[in-house]
């Protein structure tokens, strides 16, 4: 290796290792494309509403993904669905990460909080989450915001567990004791020493939590708890189920299903690639 390569920071090394992984790069590209579709939805297709003339048509040149039982274009539904599915996925994940970070770091740093917070996380993880989310979402009334909050509310325990296990290894380090000795406040130590140490782990967590949140959103919408005024991939499946198109019009379910699969598989592969790239022992 040349002298220049030796000076690479860990972050740059991770990036260069990541760039050499075709699966990781492909996943990243797919995710960027999906995000573009979400942002540019109005430019790609008109918002699906009202009744159309061509009902239950299979895919054709005019309707790429076919039409549903009231004549709406399934392609437009999937495009607009990308927006809500990704928005709910990302915002629920961000919220869950923030709560998980707070709880995880507090549990690791403040020894007295560790046991009660640990019990709270254990208990939350051993409950069947979907029925609980259904109950809360039904009571709070269906809307995009409800979905994001409800999903975040029941997704943070896993993040908290991961963050705690990482942070607990940092707390006994000499530099943390040194910071305490020089009179650093708890908040300052957490911000300056603990958070930078757990951020790399959180990187993977963000990706996985987002894909789980997308699946949760699709599940809730499929059961009829989606925002009635907007489209998401789960909502399209819900409408197909309600109209009885499930067993007849394959195109109404195949395309939203593929969209979910594409998003979730690429996030999973992205996190695997990121983990591999971060593990510098593999590359020599």
């Amino acid at each position: 290796m040349t002298a220049a390569a030796v000076e690479l920071t860990p972050r740059l090394r991770t990036w260069s290792a990541f760039r050499r992984n075709p699966l990781g790069v492909a996943s990243a590209i797919v995710l960027v494309l999906l995000a573009l579709v979400a942002v540019c939805a109005p430019l790609i297709a008109p918002f699906p509403e009202g009744y159309g003339a061509d009902t239950s048509q299979p895919p054709s040149a005019a309707h790429w993904f076919g039409t549903d039982d009231i004549g709406q274009d399934v392609f437009a539904q999937v495009v607009w669905g990308t927006r809500v599915s990704m928005a709910v996925g990302v915002s629920a994940s961000v919220l869950a990460i923030v709560i998980g970070l707070l709880i995880g770091v507090s549990a690791a740093y403040f020894r007295r909080l560790d046991t009660p917070l640990g019990v709270l996380v254990d208990l939350s993880l051993s409950l069947p989450v979907l029925p609980l989310m259904i109950l809360v979402a039904a009571l709070a009334g269906p809307s995009v915001r409800t979905l994001a909050v409800v999903i975040a509310l029941f997704s943070w325990p896993e993040v908290a567990r991961v963050v705690r296990s990482q942070a607990i290894a940092i707390v006994p380090m000499p530099f943390v004791s040194a910071a305490k000795v020089v009179g650093g406040s708890s908040l300052w130590i957490v911000r300056k020493h603990l958070l930078p140490g757990v951020i790399p782990v959180v990187g993977v967590s963000v990706v996985l939590t987002t894909s789980r949140a997308v699946l949760a959103e699709a599940g809730l919408s499929f059961l009829g708890l989606g925002d009635p005024n907007s489209w998401s991939w789960g909502t399209i499946l819900h409408k197909a189920q309600q109209s009885g198109a499930l067993a007849t019009a394959w195109w109404t379910t195949l395309f939203p299903s593929l969209a979910i699969l594409l998003l979730v598989v690429s996030t999973t592969l992205l996190s695997v690639a990121y983990n591999d790239a971060r593990d510098h022992r593999n590359s020599s």
């Binding site: 409950l127 029925p131 009571l139 599940g219 499929f222 708890l225 499930l246 067993a247 699969l261």
Partner: protein, 317 residues
């Protein structure tokens, strides 16, 4: 016995937590907490009477104690739409959900063990690669999509299996049992496909670890046949962590059952949840969660205790 007592206490704590969380979530949510028991379409007089019946005019602490007391008597309130106790509605449905989840669990284990062994004994070979990639992908599948796919392929297209319901109502005796199994295949298979990936991957990791232990080297050195080493020595020790993971996955299994039952119009608790969502029947939703949480806690307790009896190491940890 101290071990069983501890696990029992843990189970009860989980259950209390589930019940308490629902109680406070229902009452602290934005909007009228009354919606949890009173139908918005009711007349004012009926509504007031119902509120008094449910004790919703009392202070929160008193309500909470009442609620716990009612639960201990198995009372989960009344369904709005069907005017019968929630317990009756759900108990009619519970056997179907149990049949579905237990059969899915059994099939997953029966398929998972040999696949895990296959991957672990050929670690880093191409069989292992295929199993790993399929496992990771299977974990990211959306349950209804899998259900719909299987329904098209095996139900609509090949016509091998019925695509809805749980049993032919005309069938009697042995024919009814056969029809029940016939209806069970597709929903069960959907759940197995979702569960299998995680199970095999865990099995693979723990088995590879077990194969590196000293007692495996000793057995090999003694000249024990390789097959016996894997199946009799290493596998037994690898099963324990795998079962713990299976216990943790119970929540996912229950969630999957809710979605699968919806797809196949399978008359279990999950389908009841779907119907209750459509009708905004909150007591049924609340009762279903409490019931499913209790089922998960009970299943975890049973596996824990069974393994405690089989493997003395668990009792001390």
């Amino acid at each position: 016995m101290r071990f069983i007592g501890l696990r029992l206490a843990r189970g009860l704590l989980t259950l209390w937590f589930a019940v308490t969380v629902t109680f406070f979530l229902v009452r602290l949510l934005p909007g009228d907490p009354v919606t949890a028991v009173a139908d918005p379409n009711m007349t004012e007089a009926l509504r007031q009477k119902l509120l008094a019946d449910f004790g919703l005019d009392k202070p929160l602490a008193a309500q909470y104690l009442d609620y716990l007391g009612q639960l201990l008597h198995g009372n989960l309130g009344m369904s709005f739409r069907q005017s019968i106790p929630v317990t009756t509605v759900l108990m009619e449905r519970l056997p179907w959900t149990l049949i579905l989840t237990v059969s899915a669990m059994v099939v997953t284990i029966v398929l998972g063990i040999p696949l895990g062994v296959l991957a672990a004994t050929r670690a880093r070979g191409w069989v292992d690669r295929v199993i790993q990639i399929t496992g990771v992908t299977a974990q990211s599948l959306f349950v209804p999509s899998v259900g719909i796919f299987l329904m098209y392929l095996l139900g609509v297209w090949l016509r091998w299996f019925p695509i809805g319901g749980a049993v032919d109502l005309d069938a009697t005796g042995f024919a009814a049992t056969l029809s029940m199994l016939h209806h069970l295949v597709l929903p069960c298979l959907s759940l197995v496909l979702i569960q299998l990936g995680g199970y095999v991957l865990t099995m693979r990791t723990t088995l590879i670890e077990a194969l590196g232990e000293d007692y495996v080297s000793l057995a090999k050195a003694k000249g024990v046949r390789p097959g016996t080493v894997v199946w009799k020595h290493a596998l037994r020790n690898a099963l324990l962590p795998t079962t713990t993971i299976a216990g943790l996955q119970l929540g996912t299994l229950v969630g999957g059952a809710v979605l699968t039952e919806t797809i196949y119009a399978y008359p279990g608790v999950g389908r009841a949840i779907y119907e209750a969502v459509g009708q905004l029947d909150f007591p049924v939703l609340q009762g279903a969660f409490v019931l499913l949480a209790a089922a998960v806690v009970a299943a975890n307790l049973i596996t824990d205790v069974a393994y405690g009896i089989l493997d003395p190491r668990v009792r001390t940890s």
